[in-house]
């Protein structure tokens, strides 16, 4: 069978790629995509531990479902904000939206 640490290493790799994307991409939508990668990595972790430790209770699945809901809500609000920002600045590049910098 598949050992648990394979899933955890895969989730860690996905999370670190998402981390790299958040820190280094310029386009705000690309940053949001990297955040989605991180959330998916977290979900894989949750479900792997649920499956390998306590599959009789649905706790792991409930946690993962709540993470789905939160991710969907965050993407919706984030993208609406990007559209509003684009209307004001005519750009969604993260380094061009710097009015609050001193």
């Amino acid at each position: 069978m598949i050992p648990l640490n394979w899933y955890l290493i895969l989730a860690a790799a996905l999370f670190s790629m998402g981390l790299f994307g958040v820190l280094s991409r310029r386009n705000a939508v690309a940053i949001l995509m990297s955040v989605e990668l991180m959330l998916n990595a977290v979900n894989i972790n949750l479900l792997a531990f649920w499956r390998y430790r306590d599959p009789a209770h649905p706790v792991g699945m409930v946690f993962a479902v709540i993470v789905f809901a939160v991710a969907a809500a965050e993407v919706a609000v984030g993208l609406a904000l990007f559209i509003a920002v684009y209307r004001r600045f005519n750009s969604v590049a993260a380094d061009e939206i710097n009015l609050l910098k001193w």
């Binding site: 670190s16 690309a30 479900l47 706790v59 409930v62 479902v65 919706a76 005519n90």
Partner: protein
């Protein structure tokens, strides 16, 4: 190498490669499509973890709604049809170092734990029914469920309000 391990390795390679392309490709629409491939790969992983309902929910929510919404916004927030300017910021080597350090740290921590090599038990047949009952039963998780519903309602109203076109009066 059992069949399941081969399937896992194939899925892992596809998912990780697509995630790498998400964060490195300069073309935004291609990045969104690589994200779709990553999300479908993660859904396959959920199937391998016997969470079939979550796998299908992942495809419905992420691929069917979130990825499409992201593509819409990419199309709506560009000055011309092509992406212009560098898509990777100036400090990307530091980000790469940080990501590699993080990955190394987590792998070292995982390898130092003694983890199970096989699942503890079988998933019961009534797993989906149990999930449904747990989400709405008072001794279960009804409060997080209701809070998540309120969150989604607030996000819905907020997103519509923020993105509404203001008529210049």
């Amino acid at each position: 190498m059992t069949a399941m391990q081969i399937i896992f390795l194939l899925t892992a390679v596809v998912t990780l490669f697509s995630a790498f392309r998400v964060v490195t490709t300069p073309n935004m629409i291609h990045a969104a499509l690589w994200l779709v491939t990553t999300l479908v790969g993660v859904a396959v992983l959920y199937v391998l973890l016997s969470a079939s309902f979550l796998a299908v929910a992942q495809v419905v929510i992420y691929v069917g709604a979130i990825a499409i919404l992201m593509m819409f916004v990419i199309m709506l927030t560009r000055r011309e049809m092509r992406d212009h300017g560098p898509q990777i910021g100036k400090q990307w080597p530091w980000a790469a170092v940080l990501a590699v350090l993080f990955f190394g740290g987590v792998v070292w921590m995982v390898q130092s734990m003694s983890l199970a090599a096989a699942p503890a038990a079988e998933v019961p047949q009534t797993a989906i029914a149990d999930l449904g009952k747990a989400l709405v039963s008072p001794n279960g998780f009804v409060i997080p469920f209701e809070v998540a519903s309120v969150l989604l309602l607030a996000a819905l109203i907020g997103a519509v309000y923020v993105a509404w076109t203001r008529r210049h009066s």
